[in-house]
Symmetry: C2
Subunit: 187 residues, 2 copies
């Protein structure tokens, strides 16, 4: 099974080492890991006049060519996962292929949103929480926005969360390996 | 053209009024706006044992039944757009149908990320910016994460940004109407 490895670790200075580590775990489980920065045949990207568009088109080609996707949904610069990773998760769900997620933060989304907002979070008369602009906080006890949890659930995939020490949260791969194992087991 | 109206305004206490206003603008341009909370025939959602899953499945049914999507990509609790909206954008792009975006914040993504990080943003020796954990800040001069800008561009859609006063950023619909106009014009 060729699995696209979505996640913000592409932004790490040693992204290549992470790619290798994930690829090795995939191989150990009998699968092939595809990292966003891997080369891929994509004439549209080769012809693109802008670097960022070429990167986009290659990522899209990788996803279209993969049989499944595992997303690193560890919260990224805010209460939710990295926007690019979430885009790719929705993309693969629409293609109808298996998707899985993992996060190295176990705190539920509502609590995480309240922690992020701090004193700006307030209660409505009905007891629900909202932010300083009056926008409601989801309170379903989920791991992230309901579209993320819902897409993974609808696809029958796992969404594994684990608390790991802050300083290794972009490198600890135990939750990734568990999601990989569960994804392959569900085939 | 039946257009799915993605955006975090579903979290507003008066989401219904926003839905009506967007629907009226769609009608004025000869299109039909579909709001996430509109009723939809979805047996899987009717059979779902959990409310959040039923909401997810109805949103997915709405998107699958729509001919295009306009996403409100105004930054939401962090430098990027709302995670649920971004998921839906990627989903519709994978279906190969027209997508458009708008944002009521004109500041480029890199500057917005630096403003969000504050003193935690620092320069690498090569001059690039990174966060306190060493993760790179995208610096392509885009409106949001490159997967968002890239998906809209690859689909040939508009991504309209406008600065509006902070207190009306969830209700001002000028950028929405411009995106709607450009989307319909490109047919």
């Amino acid at each position: 099974m060729r699995i696209y490895l979505a996640g913000p670790e592409v932004f790490l200075p040693d992204a290549g080492a992470l790619a290798e580590a994930k690829r090795a775990l995939c191989a150990r489980h009998g699968a092939t890991g595809i990292f966003p920065t891997d080369p891929v045949h994509c004439p549209a990207a080769d012809a693109a006049s802008e670097d960022w568009l070429a990167i986009y088109l290659r990522n899209e080609a990788h996803i279209r060519g993969a049989e499944a996707l595992i997303a690193n949904l560890t919260p990224f610069r805010g209460p939710s996962a990295d926007a690019g990773t979430v885009y790719e998760l929705g993309f693969m769900r629409a293609l109808g292929r298996p998707i899985a997620g993992y996060s190295n933060a176990a705190m539920p989304f509502e609590e995480r949103s309240r922690a992020f907002l701090g004193p700006a979070a307030r209660r409505r008369p009905d007891g629900a929480w909202e932010d300083a602009e009056g926008l409601h906080l989801e309170s379903f006890g989920l791991r992230d926005n309901l579209m993320i949890d819902g897409g993974i659930r609808a696809a029958g995939g796992p969404f594994v969360t684990r608390d790991v020490p802050e300083e290794v949260r972009w490198r600890d791969l135990a939750a990734f390996e568990e999601a990989l194992h569960l994804l392959l087991e569900a085939r």
